[in-house]
């Protein structure tokens, strides 16, 4: 009796699995959705071959929607509005969309299939995103685990970005990665130089892209990136600016300081840079140069646990405590933070306690 039940279960399961596989194969080879149109923001119309996932169709058309999982439907980042033609919400999308998003037709680009004409909305800044072919022109060791990479643009030859924005760097297939992946890095260069960008990258143990950049990428190699992305930027007010960063969070702040110098910005600015050890400090000379060139700028490196042989006589302890000890007129300030989520959260607490308005705190969390 038991054997008969087991055989029946196996047979029924096998038939089900076989039919599912047949459907997938049939759809792959025989389903022909023909040409479909995708209307973007009521302004631009693409004609594409139906059948592909919206995210990959847009990428093929050089419209880049950020995604962390390569289109597997597990990161929930590739959200965009699909106003018409997407069909019902899929169970694979539901966990990533709140009530408001569902009501406003937000969908996951990697899950929506282009089967018919679509009408979609994409933030304007994403439409400005371009793909760039670059040549790695210089690699500088900043600390034991941070390097600065200068990427000269080959095609297109120039880039426009707002200081504070980031790009996505493509890691090609290499010994430790069998697939191409994109990773996000803030631009650190002087925005006046539109022919190249610089990135400050900290080695992540086991990281696909950082391992590639540190161990495989050589001067002269060609790399691909797309961008710019992000809304982290300096306001246009005269409020005193407080920058707080740590590690590779240095990158967007450095870019902003270049911009302040280029535009003759006279606002008061104080930059707290947190590091664990003195050996983790970098670009000190450039910061001193900014102190002499900007109207009212002070760089305050803060070392959490200085090495005994370094005779460090600067600020010590967590960077947030140094801010608490030394920041004057916090209520008048705007704060710009870039670094690890832990550092950002701790800085938010301290800044709020000091009286900095929540709407005056801008940050680029490492997420």
């Amino acid at each position: 009796m038991l054997a008969a039940v087991l055989i029946a279960v196996v047979v029924v399961s096998s038939i089900g699995a076989g039919l599912a596989a047949l459907l997938v194969v049939a759809e792959h080879f025989f389903a022909n959705y023909g040409p479909c149109s995708i209307t973007i923001n009521d302004e631009r119309r693409l004609t594409v071959n139906g059948g592909g996932k919206l995210l990959s169709v847009l990428t093929a058309e050089k419209i880049f929607i950020p995604s962390a999982c390569g289109g597997r439907g597990t990161c929930g980042l590739c959200k965009l509005k699909v106003l018409e033609g997407a069909g019902p919400l899929l169970p694979t999308e539901e966990p990533y969309l709140d009530k408001d998003q569902r009501e406003s037709n937000v969908r996951l680009g990697c899950q929506v299939k282009v089967r018919n004409d679509l009408k979609i909305e994409i933030p304007q800044e994403l439409l400005a995103v371009r793909e760039y072919i670059c040549k790695c022109a210089e690699i500088i060791d900043l600390t034991h685990d941070m390097k600065q990479f200068r990427l000269e643009l080959v095609e297109p030859q120039t880039i426009d970005y707002v200081p504070g924005q980031y790009i996505q760097l493509l890691t090609p297939v290499y010994e430790k990665s069998s697939e191409e992946v994109y990773r996000a890095y803030s631009i650190s260069s002087d925005p006046a130089d539109k022919s190249a960008i610089e990135l400050i990258i900290r080695l992540v143990p086991g990281g696909i892209c950082t391992t590639y950049c540190f161990e495989y990428l050589k001067v002269g190699d060609q790399v691909k990136m797309n961008g710019p992305y992000g809304e982290f930027r300096l306001s246009e007010t005269d409020a005193p600016a407080v920058f707080i960063a740590g590690g590779s969070g240095m990158a967007p702040i450095k870019c902003m300081l270049h911009h302040m110098k280029n535009t003759g910005n006279k606002r008061k600015a104080t930059y707290y840079f947190g590091a664990n050890k003195v050996k983790e400090l970098c670009l000190g000379e450039l910061m001193r140069q900014f102190e002499s060139e900007l109207a009212d700028f002070r760089f305050i490196p803060v070392i959490a646990a200085p090495e005994q042989d370094q005779n460090w006589d600067g600020e010590k302890g967590p960077v947030t405590e140094a801010v608490q000890r030394t920041l004057d007129n916090a209520g008048q300030c705007e704060a710009y933070l870039c670094g690890s989520p832990g550092m950002i959260d701790a800085s938010l607490d301290v800044l709020k306690k000091l009286g900095v308005g929540e709407d005056k705190i801008f940050y680029d969390k490492f997420e």
Binding site: A17, T74, G76, P95, A184, P205, G206, A304, S340, A346
Partner: protein, 150 residues
């Protein structure tokens, strides 16, 4: 045991480098379920469940967060620190799940024995009993883990 299509897909994702460098399986030729089962037996012999171990790991990570990247005393014999990087790690299992790229390093002050894990490791162990395959960058040996944090 025969693998279902879902198991095959999961195995393929775990062996690919799409989500983490070198994948989650390293040079391990065993199936996911074989790895999970073998590690569960090891843990059980040590007197722990995966939920207990994951909870202890999470507790240590939460204490270490306060150090903002510096070493924090966990108890009389342990200290830990957190390193964070930009980006998210995605759970390879078919359910929603993204985790900060946060690495907890922990060491015994007397012996110097150390181990590290990511937030994703905690999830993979607690929810899926998966300590990763041998040779992967973030494989955690249950016996080593228990010896340090148990």
């Amino acid at each position: 045991m025969k693998e279902s299509p879902q198991d095959k897909k999961l195995d393929e994702i775990l062996r690919s480098s799409r989500l983490v460098a070198g994948g989650f399986m390293g040079c391990d030729t065993r199936s996911v379920s074989e790895i999970v089962d073998a590690d569960e037996v090891k843990l059980s012999k040590l007197g722990f469940t995966r939920k207990q171990v994951a909870e202890r790991m999470r507790q240590i990570t939460n204490i270490a967060k306060a150090g903002l990247g510096t070493w924090v005393r966990i108890d009389e014999s342990l200290e830990a620190k957190i390193d964070e990087a930009r980006g998210l790690l995605v759970c390879p299992w078919p359910h929603p799940g993204t985790f900060l790229k946060r690495i907890t390093s922990i060491r015994q002050t007397e012996t110097g024995a150390s181990i590290q894990w990511s937030d994703l490791n905690i999830h993979l162990i607690g929810e899926h009993g998966f300590f990763e395959g041998r040779g992967s960058n973030f494989r955690i040996e249950p016996a080593e883990l228990v010896a340090i944090i148990g």
